[in-house]
């Protein structure tokens, strides 16, 4: 059963490395060679590698903005809920205090702020990363299960404007990887 279009053909060419330093050097070489559509895979985060493989991260990241928006919405909604319930919908005189006794609502406003900001941070991260995505072409690489253990991968995608199969293959071979393989869709 296929949902949508079934892609065929080549996704890209992938090279396997054995250390984070090798991967970093290889990614920098690929960037300097003018490749733009690539990605690196590692068993743990490597500082600055996302910029080398073509992700821009100047200024406030979109994830921070999403989280901030979630927090602001949560805070306003939390306060509005308390205010609406205790002032408009169901006013009760408690010890002669004013109905709009807002200091008593600070804890709930705060908790709602944190709750929605956290949801925004987690689901925003997943959405921006395009997860969940159970199938991805790199999983076709036989040794890719090592990417979650101790191996490091660099893929140059076929949609890269500079992509030509033999040229990319030779370029990756020259970086002294453990092996180079093609990645079918």
């Amino acid at each position: 059963m296929a949902i949508g279009k079934v892609r065929t053909g080549l996704y890209g060419v992938i090279a396997e490395f054995t250390s984070p330093a090798e991967l970093t050097v290889a990614a920098e070489a690929a960037r300097d060679a003018g490749y733009t559509e690539m990605d690196a895979f590692s068993p743990f985060p490597i500082h600055g590698l996302h910029e080398t493989v073509g992700m821009k991260s100047a200024g406030m990241s979109s994830l921070s903005a999403i989280t901030l928006a979630g927090g602001i919405i949560g805070g306003i909604a939390g306060f509005f809920m308390c205010w609406y319930a205790n002032v408009i919908s169901y006013p009760l005189n408690i010890g002669g205090k004013p109905l709009n006794s807002w200091p008593a609502w600070i804890p709930i406003t705060f908790e709602c702020t944190i709750l929605l900001a956290s949801f925004a941070a987690v689901f925003g991260m997943l959405a921006l990363n395009g997860l969940p995505m159970p199938y991805h072409p790199v999983f076709n690489v036989p040794r890719f299960d090592q990417a979650s253990r101790d191996k490091f991968f660099l893929v140059i995608q076929a949609r890269d404007p500079k992509f030509d199969f033999d040229g990319v293959w030779k370029f990756l071979e020259a970086l002294h990887p453990r092996e180079v393989v093609d990645v079918p869709w």
């Binding site: 250390s19 990605d39 500082h47 169901y90 009760l92 956290s118």
Partner: protein
């Protein structure tokens, strides 16, 4: 790169320095990405669990049986099975609720606050401590859920438009508690799950059984370790840590408001929030030690949970213990300095009244026992740490007993005084909640990696990608 170097290498002694000046590492040397991955994932993927694990699970199952029996009795008969009555309407339920919530706080402290403070040693204990948080909150949640006696109406606690045209009273600390604890449980679960995603991918790639592979695969959401993903992942993790830090402080602050906002002598005090938060961290670290010391032995994790971790936890216990002890002194001082007869009597009653034994044991457990942590010999002995942690576990329970029934049993009017004792159902519910906690914890170590594998990889020297750079 050698994949299977021996797990242990003798740390070289280059000069004649006394051994106590050689820093204990957070990971024993000789480990590689592969050995860390294999060792930790093997605990989950192996077919046979150690005998001790089965024993622990059996204790948990017995506890859960006790719990379900108690809850059945409670639902059939009503809250009269508990010892609460006039004048003590708050008994074991809130006592155990506060005890469990407090224990949970160490997990968030380790995972969030120590992350922001760049304490690398947190890495090997954060997953375990976060799981402890979740299960402690689950055990805590039983009490407010069931103390109503009619738990099927618990949804009334939450604001929702209803045909009765009623709203909860948002000015009430008990309502604040509902929001604080449910937010805390949700955010802790999110934090824990986000931390698990890359490790679930590791388990997906390494499990042999088809069912395991599919389940771990679904749970890992298709994680593939892309550099772009890692960047957003780390941002999200840091954001969550930044959000959890004020959250965890707010939770026990709000729990303390349950008492501090009331006018009962001994409760109505402004220093309750910091006092409660320090007590929570204190209790939580004691519980982490109680669990980590047997677990590292059971699963041979001494290379990852080293003496350095245990010693650091001992130090945190000492520091927070001193804050708690100081708070006891302040309680006495405020009672005296308030010039209020009821407050003064409350303190005298705690120390010399019918519950004086509880107070005396409290001082021994929470005030005196942790002083052992001043001594390096005790901090670096698993036995010494375990015994101290046990004292603190008991002490923190006693602290809540001293605060709650002692104040309620003798308030303003002597004609309304009365004694409080837990019934056997109170005790069985307490034992049952411990059983539930253990049950969940033993299942967790069976099915999920108890140490964060990907964060352990970053702790290794070979993780340095740039000679000049610094990795988190």
């Amino acid at each position: 790169m050698a994949d299977l170097t021996p797990v242990h290498e003798i740390r070289p002694l280059t000069q004649d320095i006394p051994e106590r000046f050689i820093p204990v590492p957070t990971v024993e040397p000789g480990h590689t990405f592969a050995s860390v991955t294999d060792h930790i994932s093997a605990i989950v993927l192996q077919k046979r669990m150690p005998k001790l694990w089965w024993l622990g699970l059996a204790v948990g199952i017995v506890g859960v049986t006790v719990l379900t029996t108690t809850l059945g009795k409670l639902v059939l008969v009503g809250v009269g099975v508990f010892g609460i009555n006039h004048p003590v309407g708050w008994g074991f339920d809130i006592l155990n609720f506060v005890w469990w919530i407090g224990i949970g706080h160490a997990g968030t402290l380790i995972s969030a606050i120590l992350l922001l403070l760049r304490q690398g040693w947190r890495t090997s204990i954060n997953r375990f401590a976060e799981a402890m948080t979740l299960f402690a909150v689950a055990a805590a949640g039983l009490y407010p859920a069931f103390h109503t006696g009619r738990p099927w109406y618990d949804f009334w606690l939450f604001p929702y438009p209803n045909t009765m045209s009623l709203w909860p009273q948002f000015r009430s600390p008990l309502m604040w508690d509902v929001f604080a604890v449910s937010t805390y449980a949700t955010v802790s679960a999110l934090f824990w799950y986000v931390g698990l995603i890359p490790d679930l991918a590791t388990l997906r790639d390494r499990s042999r059984g088809k069912i395991a592979r599919v389940l771990y695969g679904m749970l890992s959401l298709g994680w593939r370790g892309s550099a772009k993903h890692w960047f957003r992942y780390e941002s999200a993790y840091l954001l969550l840590a930044g959000l959890s830090t004020p959250l965890v402080l707010s939770v026990h602050t709000i729990v303390s408001f349950d008492f501090a906002v009331a006018q009962i002598p001994g409760w109505h005090a402004t220093f309750f929030p910091p006092y409660f938060v320090a007590g929570a961290v204190y209790a939580g670290f004691a519980m982490v030690l109680t669990l980590a010391i047997p677990a590292r032995k059971m699963f041979h994790l001494q290379d990852f949970i080293t003496m350095k971790h245990l010693e650091n936890m001992g130090k945190v216990m000492l520091a927070t213990g001193l804050i708690v002890f100081y708070s006891y002194a302040m309680e006495a001082f405020f009672a005296y300095y308030s010039g209020n007869g009821f407050e003064r009597y409350m303190w005298l009653n705690r120390v010399t009244g019918p519950y004086w034994k509880m107070y005396a044991m409290l001082i021994v457990c929470n005030g005196l026992a942790p002083q052992m942590m001043w001594f390096r010999k005790m901090r670096t002995s698993t036995f010494g740490l375990f015994v101290t942690a046990m004292f603190v576990n008991v002490g923190m329970w006693l602290e809540r007993f001293v605060i709650i029934p002692t104040s309620l049993s003798r308030d303003f009017l002597p004609s309304s005084w009365g004694m409080y004792h837990g019934t056997r159902w109170d005790w069985s519910m307490f034992a049952g909640s411990i059983g539930l906690f253990l049950f969940l914890l033993f299942l967790f170590v069976r099915f999920l990696p108890m140490i964060s594998i990907f964060e352990m990889r970053t702790m290794l020297p070979e993780a340095q990608a740039h000679p000049e750079g610094h990795e988190a």
